[in-house]
């Protein structure tokens, strides 16, 4: 009887342990935190805020992955601090996009993300989803241990890595460049055996205080390594400037992606602009005055004093005194009319109509464009109505 009780207790304990491990495992998966699509168009003007809540339980070493498509060959991206629009760390201020891109969280970046989240910006690509993966889901094997190479500022130095280092490398893995003595503006260049860059994304990878990681997103780089031959003593070359390359590792993802979308952040719905529309979407102008929308002068080039701008919006439920103003898209954002103090349009739910019959307004509009500021509403559509 006693042994049965013990066995039952052991069973329960075992089940608990299994459940606990499963729960841990579930939490350890790569979790989607933002679901797109979100188009990051030309000119560094588009971005999306990754909300701070996603990072409450994150820890240093965890990895944010941004899956994307439609990237132009010149596409670039950034992880930006909402506080000052700088990169959350210098190496994340601007980098090339060549497949999914990632950020490994450090204590410093994590503190910023926990406090205010971060923007994913850049130009010329589309975000499909953003995930957060615990660092322990990646295992690293060091494949090259030097001798260390000091990368000079004239890009003249490189390390040669033999083909044997990359026997186990596969799509999805990352090459980790461990660096020290990293200077401002340090960058790595990963080249194939013919001295050409392995791919566009490896031409000047920003190097952080401890190095950088380049992920293999398709077969092309692996083919280049194969072409080098299995005995090639210089199948891959790592160069760059402003850092010392100490060792190189390969990281592999050993976890799995959770399909659980509970609590996921969804990008605002995207609309294709119809003729005459300058904006169609959901642009929040919260009560903290942080919302603004810039329109360049381009669509206004042929406008006349008879044209008007119609702005559609929805009031926020907890809005204070919803209001909107129009500013010059330059300098100190003076009122678009040239007035010293901004003119505020009180919002009552009806569309706002901005007429162009003020010559100065029209001149400013055609010269530098427009910034819409305000609070307490969500801008949904802007139409430019021509008198013709």
């Amino acid at each position: 009887m006693k042994s049965e009780k013990i066995a039952t207790a052991m069973k329960k304990l075992l089940i608990c342990v299994i459940c606990f491990i499963s729960a841990l495992r579930l939490f350890a998966d790569e979790r989607t935190i933002l679901l797109g699509p979100k188009t990051i168009g030309p000119g560094w003007k588009d971005n999306i805020l990754l909300e701070a809540r996603h990072f409450e339980k994150a820890k240093a070493g965890d990895i944010i992955t941004v899956y994307n498509d439609n990237a132009k060959r010149t596409a670039q991206a950034a992880f930006q601090d909402p506080k000052d629009w700088q990169g959350v760390a210098p190496e994340y201020g601007c980098f090339n996009v060549g497949g999914p891109f990632r950020m490994t969280l450090s204590d410093e970046t994590l503190a910023k993300l926990r406090e205010r989240g971060c923007y994913i910006g850049g130009h010329d690509y589309r975000i499909l989803r953003v995930t957060l993966t615990p660092g322990e889901e990646f295992v690293e094997k060091i494949v090259w241990r030097g001798p260390a190479k000091q990368m000079k500022s004239d890009w003249s130095v490189s390390a040669e890595l033999p083909a044997a280092c990359f026997k186990t490398l596969k799509v999805g893995d990352g090459l980790v460049l461990h660096a020290s003595r990293v200077e401002d503006g340090a960058a790595a260049k990963i080249m194939d055996f013919t001295w050409n860059v392995l791919e566009k994304a490896t031409d000047g990878i920003p190097v952080g205080p401890t190095g950088c990681t380049y992920y293999i997103n398709d077969d092309a780089p692996l083919l280049k390594l194969q072409l080098a031959g299995k005995d090639n003593p210089a199948a891959l070359r790592i160069g760059g400037k402003g850092y010392r390359l100490d060792k190189v590792g390969i990281v592999s993802f050993i976890g799995q992606r959770s399909e659980d979308l509970t609590d996921v952040q969804r990008a605002p719905k995207e609309y294709k602009l119809q003729p005459g529309e300058l904006f169609h979407g959901e642009k929040l102008f919260p009560n903290d005055w942080s919302g603004n929308l810039r329109l360049t002068a381009e669509p206004f080039q042929e406008c006349t004093e008879s044209d008007v701008l119609i702005l559609h919006y929805e009031l926020l439920k907890d809005g204070e005194t919803p209001q909107m103003s129009f500013r010059e898209n330059k300098g100190k954002w003076y009122d678009i009319t040239g007035a010293k103090e901004p003119i505020w349009y009180r919002l009552d739910g009806n569309d706002v109509v901005l007429t162009f019959d003020n010559p100065q307004l029209l001149d400013h509009l055609k010269t530098s464009g427009l910034v819409i500021t305000g609070l307490g509403f969500t801008l949904t559509r802007i139409e430019l109505i021509s008198a013709q």
Partner: protein, 372 residues
């Protein structure tokens, strides 16, 4: 009094409203005030003839131009020819990489002393232009840069020392200028006049917004030093090296009147614009015309900006801009096959330009040359 008020109101409106396009008549009126001769009294006959021809068409038609892909080639002109079947009139070369020229550096990757492209371009009826992203040693001692500043990759090269005899900057500057003078002399010897545009965009964005400043070292010490620097170079090239084949183009930035080197050392005034929209361009052209009434005005660099696409040339012209010529910027990534779209001015823009009937290609320019 009422009439006076009415007049005031009207004139105020006239200032603020979009200005009327420059008409043929007003264009001709403007031409009347423009200097007929180059500032260098010893200018070569070829240089003076080129200037005279530029003036003869000014205000009625613009000349097309491109810059080389970085330094010493005609790759962008070849793009234009591939897209449109026509060659631009002007090809501007850049002395940015003189340090890597094989005649001074055995490890160099280009050779400015090889005049093949320049000579051929001239022989085929094109106009040769030259500019200079003048790179000096960066603070880290190895890199070359034009960017002023204290960081390792920037340079604290002091422009105010360039014209101080015996200073380190003076020695370096003389070395570089004399090297460039050598190439320009080769052109002079071949009878090639050169549209010469050094020390461009000196004021940077000093007057664009608070905290703005110069982005090239030659503007780092402000307008007075800059003007002395310009005159120092003018003296070195014209008086010392007897380079008389140069047409001196000064590039103005917004609000930089105090940086103008002077009517006696500038032949043509230019503007660089990478948010080249028709309306602001028209305003800038009119402002420059008013400000420098004895000089032709040119759109020395242009192209799409980060946020806006350059207006089509037909629209720019229709809005009233009457730039002497335009020069679109290069896209090295496109030329290397790493980008599908030309970043600054692609086939659509160039096709519109030539189709507008307001832009000359090299063949049309040859006719002007043969007639005048």
């Amino acid at each position: 009094m009422a009439m006076l008020l009415l007049f005031c109101a009207c004139s105020k409106d006239a200032e603020a409203e979009p200005q009327a396009p420059v008409t043929q008549e007003t264009g001709e009126e403007a031409v009347l005030t423009i200097s007929k001769t180059l500032v260098n009294p010893n200018a070569t006959a070829e240089a003076q003839a080129l200037y005279t021809r530029l003036l003869s068409v000014y205000g009625t038609i613009a000349l097309s131009g491109v810059v080389a892909d970085i330094d010493w080639n005609i790759r962008e002109a070849e793009n234009v020819h591939k897209w449109t079947g026509k060659w631009p009139v002007i090809n501007v070369f850049d002395f940015i990489n003189i340090h890597a020229s094989k005649d001074v550096n055995p490890q160099g990757w280009l050779d400015y002393s090889d005049m093949t492209h320049v000579d051929q371009w001239h022989q085929l009826g094109g106009i040769v232009g030259a500019m200079w992203h003048w790179q000096v040693k960066a603070n880290n001692g190895t890199n070359l840069t034009c960017s002023p500043g204290e960081k390792p990759g920037e340079t604290s090269f002091d422009p105010s020392q360039v014209y101080v005899d015996g200073s380190a900057e003076n020695k370096q500057a003389l070395h570089d200028v004399d090297q460039v003078a050598g190439y320009l002399k080769k052109m002079q010897a071949k009878g090639i006049p050169v549209i010469w545009r050094p020390f461009h965009e000196a004021a940077g964005n000093t007057y664009e917004f608070e905290g703005g400043g110069a982005w090239f070292w030659w503007g780092a010490k402000g307008p007075d030093v800059y003007k002395k620097l310009w005159r120092w170079m003018y003296d070195r090239l014209v008086n010392h090296h007897k380079l008389n084949n140069l047409i001196w183009v000064w590039t103005s930035q917004t609000g930089d009147e105090t940086w103008y080197p002077g009517d006696d050392v500038v032949d043509i005034v230019g503007r660089d614009n990478y948010a080249a929209l028709m309306y602001p361009l028209m305003k800038e052209f009119n402002a420059l015309t008013e400000q420098y009434p004895t000089k032709m005005i040119t759109l020395a660099e242009c192209g799409n900006g980060d946020e806006v696409k350059m207006s089509l040339w037909s629209k720019i012209w229709a809005q009233g801009s009457r730039w002497s010529w335009f020069m679109t910027w290069y896209d090295h990534a496109y030329n290397e096959g790493n980008s599908d779209e030309h970043q600054f001015a692609g086939p659509e823009w160039w096709t519109d330009a030539f189709d507008s009937g307001t832009v000359m290609d090299r063949e049309a320019w040859k006719k002007v040359k043969s007639e005048k």
